[in-house]
């Protein structure tokens, strides 16, 4: 009797925890990019743009999910170029890749050119598109799924304690 109840409680707690931690989708609008940079000032982070309709993005999300597991202290920021009405599919996909806790945004303005410009005026819109921000926010841009080894090398290097001159 008692163990069964306890198991139920644990299960409920797990589900409640999962629900509470389901990725909160923030609307990505004009000014959001500036907000993201400001929120991560002085810290390295990975910024990845993706879409549900892009098959290579699934490889990318799998890589980022694995990276997040290896380096829980690394901030991963995801921006979906889909729409707010795809919210359910977006959160389900991120959860499947172990990215439920990542900071997640979704395009919330049909004027996508403006949003793309604020992310990077040089970006042609191809997906996936990844930006590796180091501690000083010097940025390395990459189109297409990132090689796992490259991503790992960058993570280790950028998370290493800052060398004092």
């Amino acid at each position: 009797m008692m163990p069964a109840t306890r198991a139920t409680l644990v299960l409920l707690a797990l589900l409640a925890g999962a629900a509470a931690q389901a990725a909160e989708l923030k609307p990505f609008v004009a000014g959001s990019m500036q907000q993201i940079r400001a929120a991560h000032v002085g810290r390295p982070f990975v910024l990845a743009l993706w879409s549900l309709t892009c098959s290579h993005c699934q490889e990318e999300l799998a890589q980022l999910g694995a990276l997040q597991r290896r380096h829980p202290q690394l901030n991963v920021v995801l921006i979906s170029t889909d729409t707010v009405e795809d919210a359910e599919a977006l959160t389900a996909t991120l959860a499947r890749h172990g990215l439920a806790r990542a900071e997640t945004w979704v395009y919330a303005d049909a004027f996508a050119e403006r949003l793309r410009f604020e992310v990077d005026p040089r970006w042609g819109g191809e997906l996936p598109r990844t930006y590796l921000f180091d501690r000083a926010h010097a940025v390395t841009a990459h189109s297409g799924a990132l090689a796992p080894a490259e991503l790992e090398r960058w993570a280790v290097m950028s998370l290493a304690p800052k060398a004092t001159p």
């Binding site: 999962a18 931690q21 290579h56 049909a110 004027f111 793309r116 819109g125 997906l127 189109s143």
Partner: protein, 407 residues
């Protein structure tokens, strides 16, 4: 807080196999992609097709409520006739950036239209075609031109009438990719297929393949060579994932010719197809986009030997302003380039022109602007003037004469 994170870790680890077990469709695709696809098809279509006929009348094709609507303007776009529906049976019609409805004209007043029908499965479609023999007053029952009718991708149609009045359609086709996957083999990209009709579009000959391994989601540029033969220009996948450009004549004679060498090696879909214009003198004018890190932006080249050799690519447009989606139109020795940029506040259509067959170009000028979502630009000519055709959500469809052209 720490405890919650731990619980979450457990929850995710525990739930993950359940998600995986319910996985359907192609590997790597989100399980709810079908809903996403359906929602995307329900959004209003911005893509508009326009073309001038031999009598200088402008025809327009646009999509509304699952129907393709054709109207005509006898005053270069100032006023239009009330639109006529092409397909009586409503169907889902793709009309976004790289897919827009096409119009072409036969030698005896025939009006031809083609479009991509979106099917139930994500990214699947059929190439559709209809004709009118009564000056656009009515259209015959639409045909599906692809003779493989699996629910896979046959999309990104391109339409052309050759020098003999034959009707050509070219498109990107995933039948070989699909067959390879069923055999457990790898197939890079899509294939470029085409079909030709020599009975005014009443029927089409069996589909033929022009090339294996095209890029999957970039429009095909088709133009008529000086001898009347159709020429295709498209983004190809060279080697494992180098997405540069190729050219081929649709006369079964010539092999694929590589045009660009930016070496854009990328596992991504650019959604960014090229443009081709051929002058009456037979000079090929080509424009394309590359995202290669060291060669990013728009490029222009010409060929004076029917695509055997090409001029050194000329970079145009502002790479720091998203320059993309180029158009090229050749009219005698005049060449017009148009493309899209974003200046930080608004989308702008920029234009450069050459009056010496592409050897030199004027400085770029801004022809139109928008502060809303917009279609790619199109250039059209009535044989004398060149006009920009551009649709945007806030401003609507516009026809703007290029500088030097009368309104």
């Amino acid at each position: 807080m720490k405890r919650r994170a731990l619980l979450l870790g457990l929850a995710v680890g525990w739930l993950a196999p359940a998600w995986a077990a319910h996985e359907h469709g192609a590997p790597g695709q989100p399980r709810d992609l079908k809903g996403v696809w359906e929602k995307s098809l329900a959004r209003p279509a911005l893509a508009v097709g326009v073309a001038f006929d031999a009598r200088g009348r402008l025809w327009r094709a646009r999509v509304e409520n699952r129907q393709l609507w054709i109207s005509r303007s006898d005053d270069a776009g100032k006023t239009f006739t009330s639109p006529v529906a092409v397909n009586r049976e409503p169907e889902r019609i793709a009309a976004d950036g790289e897919n827009w409805p096409k119009l072409a004209f036969g030698k005896n007043g025939e009006l031809y239209v083609s479009w991509t029908q979106s099917l139930d499965q994500p990214f699947s479609g059929n190439v559709r075609f209809a004709r009118s023999f009564d000056d656009g007053r009515s259209f015959g029952t639409p045909l599906t031109v692809n003779d493989n009718t699996d629910i896979i991708s046959h999309r990104f149609d391109s339409l052309l009438v050759d020098g003999r009045g034959r009707v050509w359609l070219a498109w990107l086709d995933k039948r070989d990719a699909s067959a390879a996957r069923q055999r457990g083999e790898r197939y890079t990209g899509a294939a470029l297929y085409y079909a030709v009709s020599d009975d005014r579009g009443v029927s089409f000959a069996p589909n033929r393949k022009l090339a294996d391994h095209s890029c999957e989601c970039c429009r095909i540029a088709l133009a008529r060579d000086a001898d009347g033969t159709p020429v295709a220009f498209w983004r190809h996948v060279f080697g494992r994932n180098t997405r540069d450009h190729a050219l081929a004549r649709l006369d079964n004679a010539a092999a694929l010719q590589r045009v660009s060498h930016e070496q854009w090696a990328v596992d991504a879909c650019p959604h960014h197809g090229p443009a081709l214009g051929i002058s009456a003198g037979g000079v090929l004018h080509l424009a394309w986009y590359s995202g290669a890190e060291k060669r990013r932006g728009l490029f222009y080249a010409f060929s004076r030997d029917r695509g055997q050799t090409f001029s050194a690519p000329l970079a145009f447009g502002h790479p720091d302003a998203q320059a993309g989606h180029p158009q090229v139109l050749a009219l005698g020795v005049r060449v017009a380039l148009a493309w899209k940029e974003f200046d930080g506040q608004q989308t702008v259509i920029r234009v450069q022109q050459s009056h010496d067959d592409g050897r030199t170009f004027t400085q770029p000028v801004t022809l139109a602007t928008s502060t809303s979502a917009s279609d790619h630009p199109l250039l059209v000519s009535d044989g004398t003037r060149v006009l920009l055709s551009w649709n945007s959500a806030a401003e609507g469809h516009r026809l703007v004469p290029l500088s030097g052209d009368s309104p």
